[in-house]
Symmetry: C2
Subunit: 295 residues, 2 copies
């Protein structure tokens, strides 16, 4: 197992445990929404965003507890977005990470509420004094996450994606769509470490620049896997975007140029980390992993 | 026009203007979600929650700007909950305040995103330095709103409500359901003024107690109006809960006892305000208005 694989596995285990601790528990008629939240969170996934939070937090000697809580909040926002995106009115996916999606398992109404509750919980976690002793840091995390996840960030990207089904996008529009839909939350994940560590503007800027290139490289690789990957490797349907007639990086650039573009972006991402010297080696590994992964 | 009616109208106009300022604008493919947010917010309503924020903030000499921003955030959360509750998978309502609901006008997918974006924006507004100079206040608002609106608050209440369709609730269960579904956000609206004004625990406690009684009186009156009101007065369907076989205060207590209970709760709410003397007169008026309203 490589250094990165080991670090990823450790971070995934730690953040999953932390999320389990933070999720609501109890009986009563509302217990169904707690169950749904638990199901959606425990369905797994790479936990890439939490890893980015924790790894960038390490650059600034942030306490493990602070980093874990912020990492849990980010993963909850990511999970809420998947639960809502999978709904019949949205992408209509029955399968996610090889398991029935939340609405297939719990019904649409519960899945809507599960997403709402995860999003709400994430903000509550970030603002809680347990996350950081400095309230300026806590409210800074909330404003940055709200910007990344809202109508001018992730939700706006999802809206663009739905609208894109009716028209042919050019490479500029696809890039902007993906920056909003997945890039902003990845950028927040990296920036969260800097906010927690009260890092200066140059460090925050470097991490955002790293994350933007990383996010785009990640998405292009997703498109490549959707075109050439196999369903059993991915645990979800492949060829779905092409079937829907959606413009993707691959449909616009072709497989070879898209692959070259992803590799170039990964190298560019790494270049942004120079100021952190060898302390950022794990982040450098991530950039390479993101474009080399098979699922 | 009574003192209260005038104050309600002024607060409604001010918060509507503030929300218009805070809502995202712009073209691009994601513009549809901006339009949907605007439509849902501008559909109107009594703006009762913003009024409660602003009126309790006045008890502590909070600046108008701070109060307006917190009021706008609360109304956005309330509006998101209506947009999601109206969805076909939830209560399936076509009409809200006499107008087509968000999903009827914009489609289900956009309505889901509109709700998500309004909720996210609300947290972003509260945590923004423009809301209050003290970051402790800002993160205090976020944690309190997250608790009121999440799985152990409003979302939990909506989950209970959906589950209640399959079983007969007793008066204790209906009371708890309504406390979560509508009471917690009303309680936050009143407590927000105290948080903004850095009020002591006795004042916070008094306002929460006031709000809990008020919220219950409000809900019982809603049930009464649903039973005996007319569709044209309300701008929405009546008799819907009874048709769905749901237990309500009225179905359990009967019209007369429910009315008496609402009046008693309104008086009890007023009694919690003694410590504020005549400064709380507008809040006293609200308690009476809530049980006397015709729609």
């Amino acid at each position: 197992m490589s250094r990165l694989q080991q670090a990823l596995a450790e971070a995934a285990a730690a953040v999953t445990e932390e999320m389990e601790r933070l999720l609501p528990k109890g009986d009563g008629l509302e217990g169904r929404v707690f169950e749904g939240m638990h199901y959606a969170i425990m369905a797994g996934g790479k936990r890439l965003r939490p890893f980015l939070v924790m790894t960038s937090a390490q650059l600034f000697n942030v306490s493990k507890k602070s980093a874990l809580r912020a990492a849990a909040a980010v993963e909850m926002v990511h999970t809420y977005s998947l639960v809502h995106d999978d709904l019949p009115a949205m992408d209509d996916d029955d399968l996610r990470r090889g398991k029935p999606t939340c609405h297939v398992k719990f019904g649409e109404a519960t899945a809507i509420l599960v997403g709402d509750a995860l999003l709400t919980l994430a903000f509550g976690i970030l603002a809680d004094p347990a996350t950081h002793s400095d309230p300026e840091v806590r409210s800074g995390l909330v404003t940055a996450l709200a910007a990344a996840a809202g109508a001018k960030g992730m939700v706006g990207g999802q809206m663009m994606d739905l609208e894109a089904e009716n028209q042919m996008l050019d490479i500029g529009a696809v890039t902007r769509l993906q920056r909003l839909k997945t890039g902003e939350l990845i950028a927040f994940s990296c920036e969260a470490g800097a906010i927690l560590g009260k890092a200066g503007e140059p460090a925050r800027h470097a991490l955002r620049a790293f994350a933007h290139d990383l996010g785009l490289a990640f998405q292009i690789t997703d498109d490549l896997l959707d075109t050439v990957g196999s369903e059993s490797d991915l645990g979800k349907k492949v060829g779905k975007d092409a079937d829907a007639g959606k413009a993707t990086f691959v449909s616009i650039l072709g497989v070879e140029r898209a692959r070259a573009q992803a590799l170039m972006l990964a190298e560019q991402a790494v270049a942004h980390l120079d100021m952190f010297e060898e302390k950022a080696d794990l982040l450098r590994d991530v950039a390479r992993f993101v474009v080399e992964r098979r699922k």
